[in-house]
């Protein structure tokens, strides 16, 4: 079995410190390089500073700048709009809201690391 090429950078935007730390640890254990941000504004600062992750994992309900807002900003910024976004939310939104977000995937917590990796790899494969 060949492991998927995972030597890519992931930006994990999540406000819950434990969840952020544990998920970052496990994703790194799976072979990705992981950068983290506690909310949208922190993520935006990283991206404006030149960070170009291959995938963004994004929580929705966050203080300072929530997931909806950073997502809207990403979509309207030409240099950032192509980065696939995987929403990882504690809220199970209805299908219409999810469709309106137009993201690579929308997953509801809790999700196992192996399931999340499969989703990340698929998002990576789709963007080439």
């Amino acid at each position: 079995m060949t492991a998927p090429a995972r030597n890519v950078e992931i930006l994990l935007i999540e406000d819950e410190p434990d969840l952020r730390a544990d998920l970052a640890y496990l994703l790194e254990d799976e072979g990705y390089r992981v950068r983290t941000a506690a909310h949208g504004a922190e993520a935006l600062a990283l991206l404006e500073g030149g960070a170009r992750p291959a995938v963004i994992i994004l929580d929705l309900m966050m203080p300072v700048m929530d997931g909806w807002e950073i997502h809207a900003r990403l979509r309207t910024t030409p240099t950032l709009s192509k980065i696939p976004v995987v929403i990882l939310s504690g809220v199970a939104n209805d299908e219409e809201e999810i469709a309106a977000l137009a993201v690579a995937a929308y997953v509801t917590k809790p999700i196992s690391v192996s399931q999340l990796c499969a989703i990340i790899d698929r998002a990576l494969a789709e963007t080439g």
């Binding site: 969840l19 496990l26 254990d29 809220v91 199970a92 917590k109 196992s112």
Partner: protein, 291 residues
């Protein structure tokens, strides 16, 4: 346009010309009528306001409920995921080391409890979502075969733990058009329910083309359900065993969720049960595209 009231005042004028007594009576009657009409008008306005208020109240309640659901959902799901991730970290860390058997057992129990907690959270949230009308449906054509196979696979450890055999009696394969997520939720709840209430024997999942429908059955070798209890078990928070002495865990929401989703999907739900032999829950999904 003369209103009845001004017309009456005009008549009153004529009556006054005719005699004081009549005029006084009429004036008093007019006053009463005026008061009655005014009260009536006030009532109509109040009723209209009341209706408006009731509608606003209902909308406010729905909004509050949706907000509450979103908040509770977020507050429960996030620590659930943290718990799972921390468990996984621990497992990976210990994987490399030699760990005493009893510590492994403790880990196994933590894992099982975490999964149970996850199921409780999931069924509570599903139930509330259905109740508040936030569970939206999507229609998709898909082959339910692999979905059934995956669920049976997932349930293996829980069945094995009770010494039960769970098997997928692969039946007819064909595409149906329904909501795959809700299809899954129905089947997960039915199989969990069967595992929960069956002490020895088997759980069997089968699928069958049935005219213009597609029937999925979860059969068990459990105690069976007395005729008198067959309606009650579908009601929320109801279980056959009395709360104080019950053996089975859970909140009694599984079958309510199954029933409510079946209604949402236009599916019918059937229950066949023999005391001491077992029960079979069948959900018949409409399948208009069937040949």
């Amino acid at each position: 346009m003369p209103t009845p009231l001004t017309a009456l005042t005009w008549l009153l004028g004529i009556a006054a010309a005719g005699g004081l007594g009549a005029a006084v009576t009429l004036a008093a009657q007019t006053k009463r009528l005026r008061r009655a009409l005014a009260a009536n008008r006030a009532e109509t306005v109040a009723a209209r306001d009341g209706e408006h208020e009731a509608r606003e109240d209902a909308e406010r309640t729905n909004r509050t409920r949706a907000q509450f659901l979103g908040m509770v959902s977020h507050e429960l799901r996030t620590p659930m995921m943290t718990l799972q991730l921390q468990f996984e970290r621990l497992e990976r860390a210990l994987g490399a080391r030699e760990t005493p058997e009893h510590e492994r057992q403790i880990l196994g129990r933590i894992s099982l409890s975490t999964r149970r907690l996850g199921e409780v959270v999931e069924s509570l949230l599903s139930y509330s979502a259905i109740q508040s009308g936030r569970m939206k449906m999507i229609h998709e054509r898909f082959d339910p075969g692999p979905v059934i196979e995956a669920i049976v696979e997932e349930m293996h450890p829980q069945a094995e733990q009770k010494g039960l055999v769970i098997r997928n009696v692969a039946g007819d394969s064909e595409e149906i058009e329904t909501d795959p997520r809700l299809f899954r939720l129905i089947l997960v709840n039915l199989t969990l329910n069967a595992i929960k209430f069956t002490q020895t024997g088997f759980i069997e999942v089968s699928a069958l083309r049935l005219g213009r429908g597609y029937a999925v059955t979860v059969r068990d070798s459990g105690p069976g359900i007395p005729e008198s209890e067959r309606a009650r078990i579908f009601e929320p928070f109801e279980q056959i065993e009395p709360l104080r002495t019950k053996h089975a865990r859970g909140m009694g929401l599984g079958l309510t969720i199954v029933r409510d989703i079946a209604i949402t999907l236009g599916a019918t739900l059937q229950l066949d049960s023999d005391l001491g032999v077992g029960s079979a829950f069948t959900v018949i999904f409409p399948n208009d595209q069937a040949p």
